[in-house]
Symmetry: C2
Subunit: 198 residues, 2 copies
DNA sequence: TTTAAGTTAGTGAACATTCACTACCAGTAA
DNA sequence: TTACTGGTAGTGAATGTTCACTAACTTAAA
């Protein structure tokens, strides 16, 4: 699916609105104002509102897939890979906080079936990359195998989702990357292979 | 703030709608249909829609506070306390899945400032109980002190939020309690006091 | 007789979408 | 050069629908 330049501009404007005023603010009127043209002009570029949102989510998904693959491909150590992957995410969301809202917006989840699927797809993409790294780390005995890779991935993903949510709730005030790296360090401590001292 | 019987019926109906069709489905019309009376009758019991949502969230918050306090008060071991607290949560949400949607709905977050605060209050209540248990566990050397209580709480809360989200996304199909206990076991393994084997 | 809890029948505002129409540009044929 | 043709990207007005909310009335119980 090709995305034209003007379409990209529109989904970026839609993203900005999401950041500023959430899913409720994403109306055709607001979108047209932000684009500087009439509402009706939107329909020159998209079939309807749902297609705008879908295009945004699908763009985000493919973009994230290639970004994650790229950011870890030259790194050997699983531990460093994990750090690089999340740093890449932090940097992206710092630059594009609106896409964060897109992923976390439960409001979006309810809009339509295809939007729901698009969001699940994004979560799946992230999960896929995370799992690969964890499995490699377990093979190399750098991560504990007391838990399955799936279970470790769940805990890591959950922690990061909450991290992102708090950033959003704070109004994007604290340093996402700084605090995120601290979280990553903490998680790495926990998932080290270890023996109970008891 | 006293809640009358009829008001309670209304916020329960509102909760059911949230479960079935999300925040977008929670309209005065749908709510009136579910209650079996006209829209205007709602305004006999509440000032407006915002007050309905606020009442629901505040009711949930105080209820959760006392439930959490009660479910752990007779237990000594922090580990068992943690298990009991989360089991209590699971049972509650199993019985009242609609309230789950209330907490997780980012859509709600955008509605108004006071609703935002009410949701933060609920998160704060949970955090408060969790922190207490973790601090006790660290003092008694049952949990690691490689991370601060705050940091451990973050990871635990994040994991459970994701767990709940997945339950919801699955359409409430899998056994929340069973899978949740497995997650709890996993988390307890990770936060055990431990030495690196390296 | 007052009050609580309901009714019907509306309100204006906001919503996504569609309509007929236009300005502008590129290519092409006379 | 000029005139025709088609495509792209816009306009403003209007559509039907849904939204939260309100005014005025009814009924029945305390």
């Amino acid at each position: 699916m090709e995305i034209k330049e003007r379409q990209l501009e529109i989904i970026e404007a839609a993203g900005e609105i999401l950041t500023e005023s959430g899913i409720a603010g994403l109306t055709t009127k607001n979108l047209a104002v932000k684009m500087g043209f009439a509402e009706s002009a939107l329909y020159r570029h998209f079939k309807g509102k749902e297609e705008i949102i879908l295009t945004m989510l699908r763009y985000l998904s493919t973009d994230m897939d290639s970004r994650l693959a790229n950011s870890t491909k030259d790194i050997e150590s699983p531990e460093e890979k994990l750090k690089a992957a999340f740093n890449n995410q932090f940097e992206f969301f710092k630059k594009n906080p609106h896409f964060l809202v897109a992923i976390f917006s439960d409001g979006l989840l309810e809009e339509s079936k295809s939007i729901n699927e698009a969001i699940l797809q994004i979560m799946g993409t992230k999960r896929k990359h995370l799992l690969q790294i964890i499995q490699q780390g377990q093979k190399q005995k750098q991560f504990t195998d007391a838990l399955s890779a799936d279970e470790l991935a769940h805990i890591i993903m959950g922690s990061f989702r909450l991290h992102m949510l708090q950033w959003r709730l704070s109004g994007f005030t604290f340093d996402l990357k700084l605090k995120g790296n601290k979280l990553m360090t903490n998680l790495l401590k926990l998932i080290q292979p270890h023996k109970s001292i008891l």
